[in-house]
Amino acid sequence: MLYILKTALELGLLYALVPMALFMSYRVLDIADLTTDGCFVLGAAVSVQMAAAGYPIPGLFLAMLAGSCAGFVTAFLHTRMKVPSILAGIITNTGLYTINLMVMGWTSNVSLLKKSTVFSMFKKLTFLGDWYAATLAFLIVATVSALLMAFLSTRLGLSIRATGDNIDMVRASSINPTFTITVGLCLANAMTALSGAMVGQYQKTVDINGGTGIVVIGLACLIIGETVLGRRSIKKGVIAAVIGSIVYRVIYAVCLYTKVIPVEFLKLLTAAIVAIAIAFPALKKMVLFQKRKSAHTSGRRFVKSKTVPAEADGSGKGEK
């Protein structure tokens, strides 16, 4: 059991930068960035190839650079070419498939056999026993979180937040939304690629389809984290991404271990979590409206107090 939790913690930390990237793009900038799937594989491919060539640490940085280039393409399409943001992400994502194959040497799978990775290097350097991977992942995630929090309260960070918060205001102030959206998406995708880079070196392999659905999983993590922590400040949001990611992997591990829910169902469940969480305000409104409607049609005031709660309960169950 401890082994399972350890693995869940490791994976949660390794993947935590994906929900953090989505926090940046989806929550801060209010753009659903679908570059994520391809960008994750791009990061993994660059880092694994670099590790194969004997440069695991530069591999992480190069992966971030590659990721931010992908973000730049999406941002360029969206801001300069006026492609709707979702479509811009899908276009970049599709193009990345070929780029990723190219990086991987035109094969769909690359493995690192006995090459050293950042994890094996860290293991040799320290005496943490089995916890080396979780520790390294934690250090990287903690550094990125701290940098991101500090960045979002700088002048540039404030401008990026304002862009997602009130684009009308930004247009009337001296902020250039093209610039802030571009910086924001480059940063978000650098984080996604870094996550991919860590996962690639941790698993010592990269698969061309390794990123499928990762954007929805990332959103689910973010939503889970926000449910736990609440959704108020920037600091909470960043921490929520990390916590959500760990909780998600624990749920995943528990499913895998106990078989309460077959693992094959997990993507469907993840999709449902995201859909329901995002639909929640609309569902709530619908329930309230039904309550009002049934209160209205039930007519006479003196029976209202009797009938309404019963009917409201019924409609509430119906929504679920």
Partner: protein, 265 residues
């Protein structure tokens, strides 16, 4: 200060919805002028402001501000020297960010050349606090609160402060009190007068309140069909009444002033 030469703006050109919003429009403002603008629906008042602020580029003509040709200057660059306020109090501030952070954004205007990675300094906060206390709304003690919690009037007063925090060369007010209740509107107008007067800001204000139009500022423009019908200034402006204004409009355009939101008193 501001000089506009023969600008034209046409919306949906070549379609059945073609609308000439500004037609060879020219004006010249002196340094420190405070102009009130009134006109019928669709007279081109807001289009004029958008053209000056750079929301779109004019089809022809040119715009100069402080001797600089800004005809093709991008909107975000113009907003370094032009402050703007809209009718909707929600438009001018970022709701999920704090009062302090909003002011810091407005302060960026003066920040050309400063490090984009720098944080709000203690000195900046002191300046914000002093400026906020000028509003007399107690906002200086709520600097860490998100702006979304403020009332419409408070948000509009804050927007006014943000638009003038770094003194602009030109201030554009587009019915900025129209969405407020009368008492709050009066307060915001008073603040506007005070801030514009103290900083000697050149200002244009669109209003649908005729009384405001003749009382505030030193000059009044009447607009109709994308043209400047009347420019009242100097001795003629002093002692101008609402009746005079209506009369002038009628003699200038041949029709009565037709604005469904116009307040005559």
């Amino acid at each position: 200060m501001l000089e506009i030469k023969d600008i034209s703006v046409t919306f949906n050109p070549g379609s059945p919805d073609e609308k000439k919003a500004l037609d060879k429009f020219s004006l010249k403002l002196e340094d420190g002028d405070f102009v009130t603008i009134i006109g019928s629906n669709g007279a081109g008042k807001s289009t004029l402001f958008n053209a000056v602020a750079g929301s779109f580029y004019v089809d022809e003509g040119s715009i100069f501000l402080g001797g600089q040709d800004i005809t093709f200057l991008e909107e975000h660059k113009r907003s370094r020297i032009i402050g703007r306020m809209f009718q909707d109090p929600l438009k001018g501030t970022a709701p999920s960010m704090t009062i302090e952070e909003n002011l810091a954004l407005a302060y960026l205007r003066s920040a050309e050349g400063t490090n984009p990675f720098s944080h709000i300094s203690g000195r900046d906060k002191q300046i914000f606090r002093e400026k906020l206390s000028m509003l007399g709304m107690g906002l200086e003690d709520r600097m860490k609160h998100p702006v979304g919690l403020l009332s419409g009037g408070q948000r509009q007063a804050l927007t006014l402060l943000m638009a003038t925090l770094v003194t602009p060369k030109l201030l554009l007010l587009d019915e900025h009190t129209a969405a407020l209740d009368p008492a709050t509107a009066e307060k915001v107008i008073e603040l506007t007068r005070q801030i514009v007067g103290e900083n000697h800001i050149t200002c244009m204000m669109i209003t649908h309140n005729m009384q405001q139009a003749v009382e505030i500022g030193n000059r009044t423009f009447l607009m109709a069909d994308g043209k400047l019908v009347y420019d009242v200034k100097g001795p003629e402006r002093e002692g101008l009444t609402v009746e005079d204004l209506l009369e002038k409009f009628k003699s200038g355009t041949g029709k009565a002033l037709d604005n469904d939101r116009m307040l005559l008193s």
